[in-house]
Subunit: 340 residues, 4 copies
Amino acid sequence: MVIVMQQGASAPQVEAVIDQVQKQGFTPFVNPGVERKVIAVLGVVDSQKVTLVDQFESMDGVERVTLISEPYKLSSRNYHPQNTVVEVGDVRIGGPEVVIIGGPCSVESREQVLETAHAVKDAGAKLLRGGAFKPRTSPYSFQGLGVDALKILAEAREATGLPVVTEILDPDDLELVADYTDVFQVGARNMSNFRLLSRLGRTDKPVLLKRGPSAKLREMLQAAEYVMVEGNHQVILCERGIINFDDACRNTTDINAIPVLKYWSHLPVILDPSHSTGYTRYVTPIARGGVAAGADGLIVEVHPNPSKALSDGSQALKPEQFRQLVQEVSRVAHAVGRQM
Amino acid sequence: MVIVMQQGASAPQVEAVIDQVQKQGFTPFVNPGVERKVIAVLGVVDSQKVTLVDQFESMDGVERVTLISEPYKLSSRNYHPQNTVVEVGDVRIGGPEVVIIGGPCSVESREQVLETAHAVKDAGAKLLRGGAFKPRTSPYSFQGLGVDALKILAEAREATGLPVVTEILDPDDLELVADYTDVFQVGARNMSNFRLLSRLGRTDKPVLLKRGPSAKLREMLQAAEYVMVEGNHQVILCERGIINFDDACRNTTDINAIPVLKYWSHLPVILDPSHSTGYTRYVTPIARGGVAAGADGLIVEVHPNPSKALSDGSQALKPEQFRQLVQEVSRVAHAVGRQM
Amino acid sequence: MVIVMQQGASAPQVEAVIDQVQKQGFTPFVNPGVERKVIAVLGVVDSQKVTLVDQFESMDGVERVTLISEPYKLSSRNYHPQNTVVEVGDVRIGGPEVVIIGGPCSVESREQVLETAHAVKDAGAKLLRGGAFKPRTSPYSFQGLGVDALKILAEAREATGLPVVTEILDPDDLELVADYTDVFQVGARNMSNFRLLSRLGRTDKPVLLKRGPSAKLREMLQAAEYVMVEGNHQVILCERGIINFDDACRNTTDINAIPVLKYWSHLPVILDPSHSTGYTRYVTPIARGGVAAGADGLIVEVHPNPSKALSDGSQALKPEQFRQLVQEVSRVAHAVGRQM
Amino acid sequence: MVIVMQQGASAPQVEAVIDQVQKQGFTPFVNPGVERKVIAVLGVVDSQKVTLVDQFESMDGVERVTLISEPYKLSSRNYHPQNTVVEVGDVRIGGPEVVIIGGPCSVESREQVLETAHAVKDAGAKLLRGGAFKPRTSPYSFQGLGVDALKILAEAREATGLPVVTEILDPDDLELVADYTDVFQVGARNMSNFRLLSRLGRTDKPVLLKRGPSAKLREMLQAAEYVMVEGNHQVILCERGIINFDDACRNTTDINAIPVLKYWSHLPVILDPSHSTGYTRYVTPIARGGVAAGADGLIVEVHPNPSKALSDGSQALKPEQFRQLVQEVSRVAHAVGRQM
């Protein structure tokens, strides 16, 4: 049983709940480091549940009491049967429209970003992506332009009207990145960075959560839960490819993840066919496949000159290839009853 | 260097080539158990190649001499740039049309098969699938009705006009199965049963080759090569899901395999969304995704009463669900420029 | 419920059981292609079980009636609590002694095998391994010397007294291979070749069963079950590495498999550190690790001149490296209370 | 080419190097958020390298210029051929002695930790482990006692003399954790938390780096590189099991990782047989296997009452089981020429 306190519940209110848990003979565990206190009560047997839920839900400062049967709760479609639609400016992700996010892997220069932003907007993209802080396997690889990149992205937003998605690596950067971005991206390597997730749960901006390369789908929904339990329910799930035994592609696109996540959860689900394949020539077929399988959107890497990209050039599309992708995907979207 | 002899090359012709290889200072290795002799000559250095190819290609009984740069050759698009179209009766797999194969996992009874065959034909399937010999993990599981099943399939073909696809497990069953089937299916567990593949290479019926659950795509093409080197080039590649770390589905649909195999090879590529997902509710979305990504066809399990199926009931579609699948897939097929 | 008939049960006896199953309202399924008939009765509910077991066990020709709770039965330690010891001549595998099998991957020549056989015997090996028929991913790779190799192995046995282990690929080769070998090896690619397993179950020679590269341990025990249900309980399980996402080694040595298989099953468990690592320099450390973790033996590739081996040279040990391995492993074996 | 500046290099020194890079026609990239600046110069062709290295190494404030052939450098055995020995108080990890770290998964109470600490010390452990901050898949799971746990660990150190290993989750906790621990543990989920790694690289305490559950060994060494490039070379590598397709154990112990990491790197390598198996009954056999394969130590979960543990009880050893483990491992250690 989990007792979720209201945001801003007072210390005496929390203490009173803890006291009551102890009086009932249970050991309470309060999750540390979380603004909205969650008190876990372990060992409740079935026959006690109804009584205890009533009792604790009536206490001051308690928001709700949850009996968990699945390992995720707020992200479950059982909890919230209708689709969640995440709004970013005028863009609605998770509704009838298939939404495409385009832009470079890394922000490299003002010219590169502005050129790309105009190109992806003209082609039909609704949001602009671009990396300011890049998590790189090697400390000797290009790590992103940091705050300069954020400023360039903001300028591109102003020039094109496209809202911006960029990755946040570190809770300490939260205020800085929040000043510039419209959507926080959590990268695959950070899917289990629970501190980062908790802090994003206390912001009011949507979170685009990428699946870890070896995360089970149940684990991904539990990562979303870390954000949601803090009060921010604007989470977009993103399949970006999983590790596997074959080296034919950079990753394996787990296309099953799309209908599975849509069945288990009410959150929007998008696909990143750039990382999930790793080769330009496979991006468009897999983008089509993802939308046909029910994806609510795509996030695609575009670079004006892929062969000179500082990261992930082998999987980037040129603007004209991106335009072709949007056209092909649009036809598929309509064939499966979506708009675009 | 590989010297491929003509089918029916005489023993003296083979001996002459072997002698010549030895005279050149190499050790010849003749693949045993193969009707069409292939003589591998190991250790040829680059500077010798041109001369040796000319020399051996001019010998009696030699069909061709191959210098291998990829691990597969006859199945490579470099060797055969245009798409191969496999013909089964009037059905053409690998051409503009997307072809759907439907039917039960196992043949259980005459009524079940006839009912299913009529239903899938009415819905738009072009071939009938059904298992007579079933490879089962446990010796205590239902292993198929054997020859009785083959007879039922043949009766269903007569009743509906649908050509039949059925699995062959054992080279010893080859003549028996050949009497009834139109296409030999090689199951995932047998993708590396090289003796079986070689013998199928000496038949004149198409082979539907399923990918092993942990086979790399390069290994799959080499398995196709075992069939093709014997003279039978009518091979259909089938992605049917790979093993992975998540248990959300029975397998992971490796949708990347579709554009990768189409890029590397000229052979037709189809998808089995039933095995690759394992749950009825995900079959249709993944079928749509596969065709959108470029699949030339689908093989789908259909059962009049899935809850009573003797094998794989949890992934079978009822006839009306299959009809719906065909309609949805047809719209996607047209959206990507295919016919159906 | 599974009714196992006696070997040689008469057709009328089998028919009588089948009739009785039908009279009870169940559909019997008789596994085809199996000498010892096994009749599966599906759909028995718990309340009927005791009565039905009694009834069928009293019928003529019935050996036993089994209620299955695990997916494997005859290989289960629940069924047979003490360790099985497989005897090959004077060698006992599965008892207190750790047994080492050494020899080349492929038989390449008489000299190579005789030299290696003497060397491994002198170093302390108890059996000689060597491949006559090689399953190769590519049809253009060396496929083994076939019957000539079998004769060379037999000669090496005569010269050294070491019993021989060699792989069988095809049920059709069974009589031929049986004439020369002491132990049938089933390779990783054939772990799910159920026809081959069934036929080996009707021989009286031990079977060394290699784990498929992506086989779950439960599936491996079910493969052993295919042999055992036919009457041959002399099965040796062999971990030889599993596929994975890292390319640091050829395979991942699943060392956990050793204590897991020993816990679940009474069959002997050995390790192949040559295939499970793929690099000579890692073979000895992993051999030590396997024995420390409880392996009953090792199967190790040895070649007098690894750089000239026709297959798997990168993982072969020279005779002096093998001698060193045996010495190091022997110290570890004694440290864990085993003999060698 | 990578130019590593001295710690404390002045801003003008860094600027001068950047200017010089630009004058040579290259674009410099300075890794942000790193105290010790590293300037990456991309696109240097081979013919320029010798000249450029000389030129930049002579500039003020430059510590070294590195031409990278492997993706890791400071952790490479090519760079540092002899074994690194990490010292924690009197304990030396990576030398002749095999070192065992024991203690509970989570700190649950003062009594639990003190009892366990005395027990593991008596049994032969040299360090005490215990989790204060626990990264948990679910936000509803017990997350650790935080600072209270740190105080309990410090008390146990005082009582027993055992240095303490505890996990750090968040760079923001660094000073707090540093006040109590002797070794920072980086958990598997944080192996790619590059910000955390960089900050640990600027401390003077050893870092025990656990391998991510799907990290390639090369990626693990690059994670170590993030620590080392900041100046802290006291890194201990820890194999703790990788994900896989079988569910027989919690993880797959990648025992190959031990000799591979020892071959590629000079850093000490230890094994966590508790997480790598997940079941108490397999911990000791795998611990023996790890040491036989060359591990420099073990980290083992011990709990006075595993069935009541708040986390990971199914894999914890009771004190008497741990004592038995130490004795068995000690015999194996001596058999492979190590001390204990």
